[in-house]
């Protein structure tokens, strides 16, 4: 039985360097499929969909809100051809009711231990319109190694450099951060995977460079330290979100191969300055993630924040505008105050203002967002800063003999397409 699994494309933000990483949701879901299912995977961000490729059942995995409308359009194409379509993934959970209007079936929740039922129903012609396991998370021990074998790896390669592989060591989140839906999606308890399972999966990943996508590793210090200790012998190099602000943890993280972290920078305090410095003291780079347009930010606050970023020696910065995604507190607040003026999900890309900010016009916030990118990268481009960070990891790999030269066979390719060189 052939299951056609699709990851819909979305428009990348203008002006930013775009690297296409291999998706995580589809490879995790594929690992939970019954043995009799053969997966054919297409990531539409790197290759076109052949709607006439033979298959029995179609799955559409969506992570981002900006994938929703494209996912629904893809479903329409398959359904025209008489195929049954099921949706899953984070975006599906956020937009479940709407997605049900475009699907034969919608799966909500985590797929481990659930796919036997779904595929058995499909084979009997009794597919249900909704499988709602959102509040019934499977035991975390059931999460096995993801099926990265379904990826066409050469498509996630830029001029011979393989992109990082995505990996997760935990699920759920005990925080309820204002703009975030993770605790709604993955449960409000932090659920770390057993360390031996994590190590088993990491050992099986051929790629030496990873992105640990967990919302925050800083949720259980004991487990976090055990995780880093177990990772040291693997000599992987990795990116992650926040790491516990504790010298012992940072030291272990560095030994375990922490390359750089995404760290929210929300004010101009000495605490933030010191936090960044402490990462750097342990050789860990920092990409600041800066959210613009919160109700407590004035125009001057935003300008001061951008000046501050230039002072604190961030390696990279990523700016987003506040975006009211469904099932977040910010969404509820904006709905109550009737402040969302743009309901086109394609514009919920964190780069477009879709709501009325509290202290300025939407147009002014949009200008400040553009100003933030332009100002931070005025003296050194994003690509140049990335190259510096990349050089650091290469040096570390050379020191511990894990460096692998770029794939010479792919130096003229970028994400599956020919590189156009402007040489005179």
């Amino acid at each position: 039985m052939i299951f056609k699994l699709i990851y819909p494309k979305w428009a990348k933000l203008e002006g930013q360097t775009t690297f296409t990483l291999p998706p995580h949701g589809p490879v995790v879901m594929a690992a939970s499929l019954p043995d009799y299912v053969t997966v054919s995977f297409t990531d539409e961000n790197v290759e076109d969909i052949n709607f006439d490729e033979p298959c029995d059942f179609v799955g559409i995995s969506m992570m981002l809100t900006v994938q929703a409308k494209r996912g629904w359009a893809i479903a329409a194409e398959y359904r025209k051809r008489g195929k049954k379509v099921i949706f899953g993934g984070i975006c599906t959970m956020l937009h479940a009711e709407e997605t049900m209007e475009h699907a034969d079936s919608v799966f909500l929740g985590e797929s481990e231990g659930r796919m036997e039922e779904v595929f058995s129903d499909f084979l009997k012609g009794q597919l249900k319109p909704l499988y709602n396991y959102l509040s019934q998370q499977p035991p975390i021990e059931l999460v096995g190694p993801a099926r990265r074998d379904i990826l066409k790896r050469e498509l996630y390669n830029h001029k011979g450099v393989q992109m990082v592989d995505l990996f997760h060591a935990s699920r759920g989140c005990r925080f309820s951060c204002y703009p975030c839906a993770v605790s709604y999606l993955g449960g409000r308890c932090f659920r770390p995977r057993p360390i031996d399972k994590v190590v088993e999966e990491l050992e099986g990943i051929e790629n030496n460079r990873l992105f640990i996508v967990d919302n925050s590793l800083a949720q259980n210090k004991e487990w976090e330290m055990e995780l880093f200790k177990a990772m040291i012998p693997l000599k992987k190099k990795w990116i992650s979100h926040t790491i516990e602000d504790d010298p012992k943890v940072l030291d272990l993280a560095a030994q375990a191969g922490a390359w750089y972290v995404y760290q929210a920078v929300f004010d101009t305090s000495d605490y933030i300055k010191e936090r960044i410095k402490r990462y750097h003291d342990y050789g860990i780079g920092v990409e600041g993630t800066i959210l613009l347009g919160l109700d407590n930010q004035s125009e001057d606050d935003i300008k001061r924040l951008i000046d501050f970023l230039l002072e604190i020696d961030l390696d990279l910065a990523e700016f987003t505008v506040l975006t009211p995604f469904p099932h977040t507190k910010v969404y509820d607040d904006m709905i109550r105050q009737n402040r969302i003026f743009d309901k086109d999900w394609n514009n919920f890309n964190a780069g477009k203002v879709v709501y009325q900010p509290a202290q300025m016009s939407p147009e002014r916030l949009q200008e400040l967002y553009n100003y933030a990118w332009d100002t931070f990268y005025k003296d050194e481009t994003q690509e140049a800063k990335m190259f510096r960070l990349f050089s650091k990891v290469v040096l570390r790999e050379m020191e511990d003999n894990t460096y692998r030269p770029r794939n010479r066979g792919l130096v003229n390719k970028s994400f599956g397409k020919d590189v156009v060189r402007n040489m005179k």
Partner: protein, 123 residues
């Protein structure tokens, strides 16, 4: 962060979006014929949908569970003080108005209440 217990008499289990098991704080005060209903968001202690994402449905579920006449119900959503450093988790109250047609509540609209306005309603 735990929700303030100030306006919670009991916990109320309700069906959230697509039947998702959900929980909120509930306080009902009778003022003559008027039933003042205060629902409180529980954040981490709510496993399902937020009170705001299912306002009309939740109001209906409460009215049915406690035999409250819709015409005489004053419905208030409370975001409790979460003792957070971030102002987004300060205490807030919203009076919610609905259209009541064909035995169902529709088209909720919210009006933010000042502390004085809130006190005037419940005292």
């Amino acid at each position: 962060m735990k929700a303030s217990q100030e306006h919670i008499q009991q916990l109320f289990d309700f069906k959230g979006r697509l039947g998702l098991a959900s929980k909120c704080g509930l306080y009902i005060k009778q003022k003559g014929e008027i039933s003042i209903v205060i629902v409180t968001e529980l954040y981490q202690d709510n496993p399902g949908s937020s009170i705001t994402s299912v306002t009309a449905s939740l109001a209906m579920q409460i009215a049915q569970a406690f035999d409250i006449s819709i015409e005489n119900m004053v419905y208030i959503e409370s975001s409790p003080d979460m003792k957070s450093k971030l102002s987004f988790y300060d205490e807030e109250y919203y009076l919610v108005n609905f259209e009541y047609t064909d035995n169902s509540l529709q088209n909720p609209s919210w009006k933010k209440l000042s502390k004085d306005e809130f006190k005037a309603i419940i005292d």
